[in-house]
Structures are given as structure tokens and as C-alpha cells.
């Protein structure tokens, strides 16, 4: 799914990175805890769906090579954060919809869930990696 389709489906606007609207998103991962993003996302090209709007969201997106960030709940990051994302080439989208609804819409339209890395204490756990 392309970022452009993500924006259309959830009624999001591009805060920055509209020139990258044709970028392909391979999967979705929703979290407010950046620790979870750092510990669990294993693929590149994932869309992060979050209600956290701190500057660190964009740094995490950069470190993890995410395809973009969709801010939910009508929240938007401060201008310096948007400017940083623009310079780093990280598209940022914002929707007034809540996280649950945004995820539901994208999932229903075929955006698959990101594969989750097993946590250190759950090796050999049958549910550590979704089928």
C-alpha cells in the first residue's frame, strides 16, 4: 500500500513528505511506546501509527528506517520536529481519527501487521511471532 492510499483511507494530511506519497508501506505497527518500536519492529518500510508526538518519534523512524509516521487522535508534532523529518526524508501524516479506528481501516484495506520480534524472555514461546 502506498502512503498516498494510507492518507486517503484515514483522511490524513501530509505534514511533510508529500513528495514521497508514492512510497510503498509494507506493514503497520501501532504504539505509543517508542521502546516497543525499538524492541519489536524487525522489518524496514513499516508505517508507525502513534499518538506520541515528541521529537524522538522521528529519530526512531530514522533509526528503524520506517516508511513514515501516521499521527492519530488529531495530534501533531511541533514545527521543529516536522522540519527535522522533512530534512531526514521521513514523511509525516496526521489524522483526526483515533488510533483504533485508523488501524482498523488500514487493516481492513489490506495493510498487513508488522512481524514482531520475540522479546528476550519469550524464546520458544508459541505466540511470539504471529503466523
Amino acid at each position: 500500500m502506498k502512503l498516498r492510499e494510507v492518507a486517503e483511507l484515514v483522511g490524513a494530511r501530509f505534514l511533510t513528505g508529500e513528495d514521497l506519497a508514492d512510497r510503498e508501506v509494507c506493514a503497520g505497527f501501532a504504539a505509543d511506546l517508542l521502546s516497543d518500536v525499538l524492541a519489536m519492529v524487525r522489518e524496514e518500510g513499516v508505517l508507525l501509527i502513534t499518538g506520541t508526538v515528541t521529537a524522538q518519534v522521528v529519530r526512531v523512524a530514522e533509526v528503524m528506517n520506517l516508511a513514515g509516521v501516521l499521527f492519530v487522535h488529531g495530534k501533531v508534532p511541533a514545527k521543529p520536529t516536522v522540519d527535522y523529518a522533512a530534512a531526514a526524508g521521513i514523511p509525516l501524516l496526521a489524522t483526526p481519527r483515533i488510533m483504533y479506528e485508523s488501524c482498523g481501516i488500514l487493516y481492513a484495506h489490506g495493510l498487513p501487521p508488522a512481524k514482531r520480534k520475540p522479546l528476550p524472555y519469550e524464546h520458544n514461546h508459541p505466540h511470539s511471532s504471529p503466523p
Binding site: Q56, V57, R59, P120
Partner: protein
């Protein structure tokens, strides 16, 4: 261990990290990744180094007055050394347990402090050494071996 070879690093860089500087927290990690990419380091190694560096950097920013991060790039491995003048970790084994956290509420509100920092550093490193003395500070050395084509992380993924 093979990590004591006397060959000098191909590249060495020292970054200073200011405690509680949330505006810039994370920028050392993105800079480290840029350097590694420019040097042609394997993408999976760059990714793991970015994660290890980010967790280490956030620990210095959130819990200490400041410190520094040293990046050493060798042909066969990377090393990231984090040192700080913080309060130290009284019980390192306890701090390495997933979910154990002493983070204040304000750190959690920023999306950190879920007690996954050290376990995640360990999971993405091939070797992680932690030396800490309460009241004096902490030094963490992470070694990431190069030339491996893995997608699931470092040796932490194979440890029982």
C-alpha cells in the same frame, strides 16, 4: 576472545551527550548510522548499531547529567562504548531483566522507560559488557560483528 586483536580501528569518533537534552536526544544515533552507511557497512549491521546506540543514548539523556559515546569501526566488528557520570546501576543483573525500570513518569510520557532498553541493547549486540559503580557512573561496551547476514538481531536472539 578474538576481540583483543591489536589492529587499530578503521574509524573512530567520539560524541558527547548532554543529559536531559530531549531536543537533541537521538541525534548521535542517526549520525552514527550516517557514518556507517557512508563507510559501506552492511545494512543489517547499521540497523542493529542504530538501535543499540539509540537505547544507550536515551539512557544517558534520561538518567544522567551527561556522558559520551565512542564509535569504533573495525573490519570485522563495530564497537559502541557508552560512558556517563550518572548515578550508576546498583544491580546490573536486575536492570537487565526485561520490564525492570526505574524511569520517572516524565520519561514514560515521552514513550521510554518500559524497561526494555538494556535487554534490547543485548538482543542487538553480539556482546554487551556493563560496568557500573553507584555514585560514579556506568560504562557499557557493545560489540556488533560484521559480515553476517542476519535479520533477527544478534546473539541475544539465540541465547536461551
Amino acid at each position: 576472545m578474538s576481540t583483543t586483536t591489536p589492529i587499530p580501528p578503521r574509524h573512530r569518533e567520539i560524541f558527547s551527550v548532554v543529559g536531559l537534552d530531549l531536543e537533541h536526544a537521538g541525534t548521535v544515533s542517526t549520525e552514527v548510522q550516517r557514518i556507517l552507511r557512508r563507510m559501506g557497512v552492511e545494512p543489517e549491521v547499521v540497523r542493529r548499531a542504530g538501535i543499540v546506540c539509540f537505547e544507550g543514548e536515551m539512557n544517558i539523556v534520561l538518567y544522567t547529567p551527561g556522558g559520551r559515546i565512542i564509535l569504533l569501526v573495525y573490519d570485522d566488528r563495530l564497537e559502541l562504548i557508552f560512558s556517563d557520570q550518572g548515578p550508576g546501576i546498583p544491580d546490573v543483573e536486575l536492570a537487565k531483566q526485561p520490564g525492570y525500570s526505574t524511569a520517572p513518569d516524565w520519561a514514560r510520557e515521552l514513550g521510554f522507560g518500559s524497561g526494555m532498553g538494556l535487554p534490547n541493547m543485548e538482543a542487538n549486540s553480539d556482546k554487551l559488557e556493563i560496568r557500573s559503580r553507584p555514585g560514579e557512573g556506568t560504562v557499557i561496551r557493545a560489540v556488533i560483528r560484521r559480515g553476517k547476514d542476519e535479520t533477527a538481531g544478534g546473539s541475544g536472539a539465540t541465547k536461551a
